[in-house]
Structures are given as C-alpha cells and as structure tokens.
Subunit: 208 residues, 2 copies
C-alpha cells in the first residue's frame, strides 16, 4: 500500500490558512494534525480539536522525550506537533496536513524532506492588515508584532514548494486540493516496484 | 508576465498519450508542438497538424542548423521538435505540451530542466498489447519492435516527474490537467519579485 503524504501549510497569520485547512479536511481524505500548545484557549476553541492545551511543564517534558516533530515558541507560548500521530497516519496510507508557521515548517523539512510545503499568501498587505484588525482578538502590541512577523514569514517562501494566493477562500482551497491531488501522481519508489511487476508480466506475454 | 510552462508527455506507443494530448489542447489554454518527421503519413494524418512531413534531406539540414530542441531516429524514421515555436510560445506566457518518446524527453530535459515530465502508463502490459493490435497499422515485425520498445521506454520512468495510468482516457486526461494546474502554483522566481512588491507595500503601510 502507498504511504500517505505530508502536506505543510504556512502563511502569515490572517491569511486564512486555518479556514483552508478546515475545507480540506471536510472535503478530502486527509486528516489534520492537532498541535499541542501552552497558550490559553481563545473563545470557542475546543481541547483536542483546535489544540491540545497543555501546561508549560508537560510541554517541556515532551520536548525532552523527543516527542515533537517540530516545536516553537511564538509570542511567548509554545506550539508543537506530536510525532507519533503523524508517523502512524502516514505509515497507514493516510494523508496528513499540518498548519504551522515557517519556523515549524523548516524543522519538519529537515525530518521529512519528502513533505510538500505550501505557502498561503494574502492578496495584498493592505488586505492582510484588514484581516488581522477584523479578527479583533489582538491587542495593539500583538497586532504590530503579527504584522511585522508577516514580513519575516513571507521572506521564507523560497523554502516552500507551492504558493497559493488566498483572494477568495473557496477558490484558494480548490487550488490547494489540486496540488494535493497532483502530488499523488508524482513518480515514487512505489511506482518503480509497480514497473517491475509490468516487466515480469511483459516477459511472460511477449509474442514469439 | 509569467512565462509559459513546458510539459513533456511520454509513454510506450499504444498507451493513448496522443488522445490525452488532444483532450488537453481542446479543453485547456495549452498548445501542442507539431513535430517534423521523415516517416510517411498514416491514413487521415494532416500535414502541419499531426506532423510536418519533410524529406530526409530537409531534416538533416535543420539538424545542422541547430533547429531542433530534440530529434531522434525511431524505426528508421526521423522525428524532431522545432526549437523556434516552443521558445516563442513559452516566452509569450503560453503553456506548451510535447508528445515525444523517452529519447526526445531526455534531450529536452537537458535543455529545459524546468520542463515538467509526465509519463503515461497502460493499466497492464496485456492491455498495451491489445491496444497495439487494435490499432492495426502495424506489421508483425513492427509490432514486436514496438512491444519490446515499451519495456525499454518504461524503464526510463525515473527520469519523469509524474506518472498517470491511462485506464480510462477521460479520467487520465483529467489527472494530467490537475498536474498542469498544480504546476502553476509552484514557487518560482516570478513569485519572489511579487514578494518584493509586498515588502515595499508593507514598509509604506505598517502602523506606527
């Protein structure tokens, strides 16, 4: 059986990458990795669905046990992707999508060079600014921090394989789905073994 | 303006890659390169549409003038892809699809490392054999030659980026279309220059 593929989706906060990931999970055979975080839940966020909300101590223990594929400290909070879940899913043939920032993506790339890295861009910086303002959960300080971080995040785009501009969320989600589907047609080692089967078949059926 | 992309489609004869290419040209904004050949036209083949049918002398002159992106001798006949057409189209932002065998594809890959190489596989060798028989244009000798060549052709699949099994031609064409679309979302140098525009915009609009 073919292994599953690992898709990593990043982009500055406010680009709508979370909405795109939700759409993927809803309409494709792909599961989303649930991260662990030490930050406080936002209104409406559910333990085990949006994040596993854990204490700083629990998080640090897991770091020492090498239990994360990647982790990072962002705005004073820890975020990390538990290793076991991803490995099990991929091994069983299930595609997985990770929504993480560029710091995490770079760590994942080291461990999973075969992962597919997709960057979501806002249609413009003006639009990004408006989206962060609209979200309305940011203090003035954290707003500036996020906005400046967007500049840094975007400069890492050359580490990604694909780039999708999110001007309209359904349209952007469709584009990401196209990428996911196309990646399944890549020539891989599984294809080679299929080819050997073809060859044996050929040797048995060549006309004399 | 973005440059066009060059897609190269190969596969053993009888895999239906010609039908797939026709479907692409009919339904997408992509043009097909018309090859020059010294072989005799088959029934129904039109000069300038299926091939430019030329004399051996004319072909050899063009080789000396470096007028081909690739050329090859197959079954005693020359086939070649005129360089000028492809370069003009790509430069003007137009995608181009080339239907050529692995020998030609390897030559194109040297000159266009950014080309996207797609291999079309038959669902099985038994099926391939039936398809060659059905085509009915082959003498017994050329049938054997084509069938043995299929083995050789398939062993070059590792030089290709993608692989699509043609069990049903419309379905296979849709898969190739998905690949073509996804390739347009690849991170490229054009994206970097877009990013610089974002940065300038950001510097003008950062809240103080």
């Amino acid at each position: 059986m073919d292994k599953g593929l690992l898709f990593v989706i990043s982009g500055p906060s406010g680009t709508g990458k979370g909405t795109i990931c939700k759409e993927l999970v809803k309409t494709m055979d792909i599961v989303m990795s649930v991260s662990e975080t030490t930050r406080a839940p936002r209104d409406g966020e559910i333990q085990g669905k949006n994040y596993f909300f854990v204490t700083k101590e629990a998080f640090q223990t897991k770091i020492q046990e090498d239990g994360f594929i990647e982790y990072a400290e962002v705005y004073g909070n820890y975020y990390g992707t538990p290793k076991e879940f991803i490995l099990n899913k991929i091994e069983s043939g299930q595609d997985v999508v990770l929504e993480i920032d560029f710091q995490g993506a770079l760590q994942v790339k080291e461990k999973f060079p075969n992962g597919i890295f997709i960057f979501i861009l806002p249609p413009s910086m003006k639009e990004l600014r408006q989206r962060i303002v609209k979200r309305g959960t940011e203090s003035e300080k954290s707003f500036k921090e996020r906005f400046n971080n967007a500049l840094k995040e975007i400069s890492y785009i050359d580490k990604y394989d694909y780039c999708v501009i999110n001007d309209e969320v359904e349209c952007a989600a469709t584009k990401v789905k196209t990428i996911i589907e196309a990646e399944h047609y890549k020539v891989t080692e599984e294809i080679y073994s299929q080819i050997y089967k073809y060859k044996e078949e050929l040797l048995c059926s060549t006309p004399r």
